[in-house]
Structure formats: C-alpha cells, structure tokens
Subunit: 288 residues, 2 copies
C-alpha cells in the first residue's frame, strides 16, 4: 500500500528546444523538476511524446513518486507546434497522463507572464505569435508558421536576409555590409545559399537574425529595411489586439533585440513578465 | 547491316510538366517527335531520367531508328531544375546519350525565342528567371527557386495570396474579395490554409495566381497590391539586364496575364518569340 501523499500538480512546458517539468504542492511551492529534449509534436510526434514522458518520469522520481503516481496527478502541458489543428486529446492519451489539460505553449507563456491579469503577450523567437487575454477570453494573431506567417520572427528575418542577399547579387538592390557579410559566409556563391535554403528548417534561417540586428546597429540600410518591415508588423499585430491600455509583455528569443527599435507608443505599454511559461503551466494545473 | 541514313539531330525540351523530343534533319526539317512526362531532375531525378529516356526512344521509333541509333545522334537537352549546381555531365551519362550537350531549360527557351539575335527573355511561370544574350554572352537574374527567389513567379504570387488572406483573417490588413474568395476555398478555416501550405509544392501555390489576376481585373486592392509588387520586380530585373534597346520576349505560363499590366517602357520593347524552347534545342543541336 502506498501511503497517502499531500496533493500535488504537474506543469509541463513542452517547448521546441526543450521540455521542462515541475511538480508543485497545491500551495504553489515547487518540490521537484526535470528537463528533457525537444517537445515539438509537429516536427517529430513520436520522439516528442517519448521525450516528454521520460521528463515527466524523471520529475516524478525527483519528488519520490512512482511513474504510476506521477501520471495520475493533475497536469497542464503547454505544447509547441500544436496550435495548427492538432488532436490534443490523442496527445494526452499517448502520454499516459490521466488528468491532463493540453494547451499551446503560447497559452502557458501568457499565463506565466500575466498571471490572472488582462494583457497582451508578443512571443517573438524562431516563430511569432501575439495573444491577448481580455475578460477571460484569449484571442491570438499570427502563429501560422514559417511558410505563410510568423512575420517578425527570427526565421522570417533570416529568410529575408538571404532573399535580399540574392537580390543584391543580381543587382536588383544595392549591396551593403549585411548582404556582403552573408554572401561571404557562403563563400561568395549564391548557389550555396539556395542549396542551404532547400533543406533549412525555420531554426536554421533564424540564425541569420543575429546578423540582421548586428548590422541594424550600424544603420546598414538593408538591415534597417528588413527590420522596419518587421517592426511595422509588430505594431500592427499589437495594435489589432490593443483595446485601450492593456499591458504588453515581450517574450521569446528576439524580445530584447527588438526592444530598442520599438516605437514609444509600444514601449510605454511594456511590463516585465510575472513568471515563466512553466510557472504558467503550474498555475493552470492548480486551477484544475 | 543498317543502311547509312541522312544525318539527324535531336532536340529535347525537358520541362517541369512535360518532356518533348524532336528529331530533325540537318536542314532543320523535323521528321519525328514524341512527348512524355515531367523531366524535373531536381524533384525526382530517377523518374525524370526514366521518362526522358522513354520519350527519346519513342521519338526515335517515330523516325524509324533503333534506340542505339537514336542515342548516338547529336543531342541538346534543356533541363528544368538544373541551374542550381547540378552535375550535368552525370545526367548525360545516366541518359545514355553519347553526344549530348545539356543546358538549362531557360537557355533553350532563349535560343528558341531570339534565334541568334541579342535580347532579353523573361520566363515567368511557376518559377521565374530573366536572361540576356549580348554579344554571345548569356547572363541571368533570378531563377533561385521558391523559398528565396522567383519573385513575380506564379508560386510566389500564390503564396503571397495565401499569406495576405491570413493577414486579413487576423485583422492586420483589410479583407477584400480576393482574400474572402481564398478563405472560402478553404471552408473559412485558416488552419486548413496552413495545413495546405505545409505540403504544397511550388506548382500547388501557383494555382492561386489565377485568382490573383482574376481579382486584379476588378481592381481588388489586395490583388493589385500583390501584382504591383511583382511588376516592380519585373521592371527591376529587366531594367538590370537592359543595356539600350534590346528586344524583350515574355515567356512562360503567366506572360500573357502580366502583359496588360506592364508599364509602357517595357511593352515598347516586347517582341514575339521566334520559336519554342524545343526549336531552340534543335537549333543548338544543329550547331554541335
């Protein structure tokens, strides 16, 4: 017989680069946790399920629980790559979690950043998505992925850098330090850029966003052109969600890079996040 | 013993949608031909090689030749999808052609369109590429493929339509008849658009270029916006190649759709093509 234990909950941040699991008491105090590999259910469904399961088991062991006990706890899982028509119930069953609520990674990020307040969250990393919570309802803009959306994201910025480098090579636009620097990385061979793009994933394109911000600092005209277009999109997306004076939280790998370039109208509204996405998952699990 | 025959040459237009082969006497008179399936060596190398071989054999039979005799004739093959760093010599060996010159499909199109004259050829179909022949030298702009290039192509126009439909759905830009018509095709479900794009090939995106031109006729603002950006690119590309009064030939599936929208500066230079890409391949084979 297993002795009765204090009630516990699990929060899971199933992100594209890593999976983080925390176990907390019902007063919110975290007692155990674990970190595992990528949880992107879109790019590798079976691998992601296996890695998430393994990380949950590790966190349970850290709390002195058997796997059976762990998988019976109330859980909230925020998953990368699930906003696009994924069957969330099936994911819960595959994971073996008995009492799980599965949401997007953006939703737990919003919960972590805003707590229970209303506000807007702009998540700008390899991809991009904009969420608003207002009077209990969550609306979102973007998050449609690399091919047709994710404007302002690292992947799109990087792709734009490569496209403009080829335009400069063709003499359609003026070459500058950014385009010359990228062409140099490919040994001055435009065919090498095209070959790279053929198999590149969004994260591969996003690596060039660093070059963009570096050259934008030196007022390179092409870098500024690409950056300004992205900032116009950020303004439009936040503007479409803004109803009055909702606070704005910037999250994601490019948040700090963008911040110095954002117009005062946006920066006035910016507040720091209250907590992480994992905090958000735990907070949601406590409400189950 | 096979009786000696009149000297013959083969021209092969290895296009992305079909492969066309013609056999001509050295005076240029075509005596036989055959048509087969897609010859895009990039998307399906083995299948393309097999289809081209089969079409060459058929054309040979049509001329009363054995396969051995056919594959020994001087041949010029213009291949789709080979401009991006492909090993052309290996393609010739795989095909079993003993005396073959292999060039891009764009080069035989230029030869067919201009004959031996100088001039500019804009090839705008699913992809796009711009070539200039001047004093025996051929230069090109574009043709870098869907992900990073092919501005003004059907695939890019179609992709832009879908991207802007999602922007309209998100309230970032105003919805109009074009975006509403596309959303309707996907049962008003933006997730269905994203799912389509995940597996869509350039040719699949290009199908939406028809919608674009249809709505551009009715002065739909979004259709005109996307179209104007493409036309600006066409002007820039032709402008970068234009040295004075070189004639311009418009080729490809979208040539006639674009023509009414091109500025007078461009249309003044337009001449009709002298012949087809297959004519070009034959003409080049005759020079071997």
């Amino acid at each position: 017989m297993i002795a009765p234990r204090a009630p516990l909950v699990i929060g899971i941040d199933g992100g594209g680069t890593s999976c983080r699991v925390a176990i907390a008491k019902t007063n919110g105090v975290v007692i155990a946790g674990a970190t595992g590999g990528s949880a992107n259910i879109f790019s590798d469904p079976d691998g992601a399920i296996a890695r998430i399961r393994k990380t949950i088991v590790s966190a349970g062991e850290d709390a002195g629980l058997t796997p059976d006990e762990t998988f019976r706890l109330p859980a909230v899982l925020g998953l990368a790559g699930v906003n696009i028509g994924h069957d969330l119930e099936r994911v819960g069953i595959s994971l073996g979690l008995e009492r799980a609520k599965i949401v997007t990674d953006a939703e737990i990020a919003l919960e972590g950043a805003l707590g229970s307040d209303d506000g807007i969250v702009a998540i700008i990393g390899t991809g991009s998505v904009y969420l608003r919570r207002l009077a209990g309802r969550i609306d979102s803009i973007g998050g449609w992925g690399f091919t047709l959306g994710d404007q302002s994201s690292g992947a799109r910025l990087g792709r734009d850098c490569l496209e403009h480098t080829l335009l400069a090579h063709d003499g359609i636009i003026a070459a500058g330090n950014l385009s010359r620097s990228i062409l140099e990385k490919f040994d001055y061979d435009p065919v090498a850029i095209v070959s790279f793009a053929r198999s590149a994933q969004p994260g591969d394109f996003a690596r060039f966003a660093g070059d963009l911000f570096r050259f934008a600092e030196t007022a390179d005209p092409l870098a500024r052109l690409i950056l300004n277009e992205a900032i116009t999109y950020i303004e439009s997306a936040v503007g479409a969600l803004q109803t009055g004076r909702l606070p704005l939280v910037l999250l994601g790998g490019l948040a700090s890079s963008y911040r110095p370039y954002l117009p005062i109208g946006l920066t006035q509204e910016i507040i720091e996040p209250k907590g992480s996405a994992l905090d958000g998952a735990l907070a949601m699990a406590l409400k189950l």
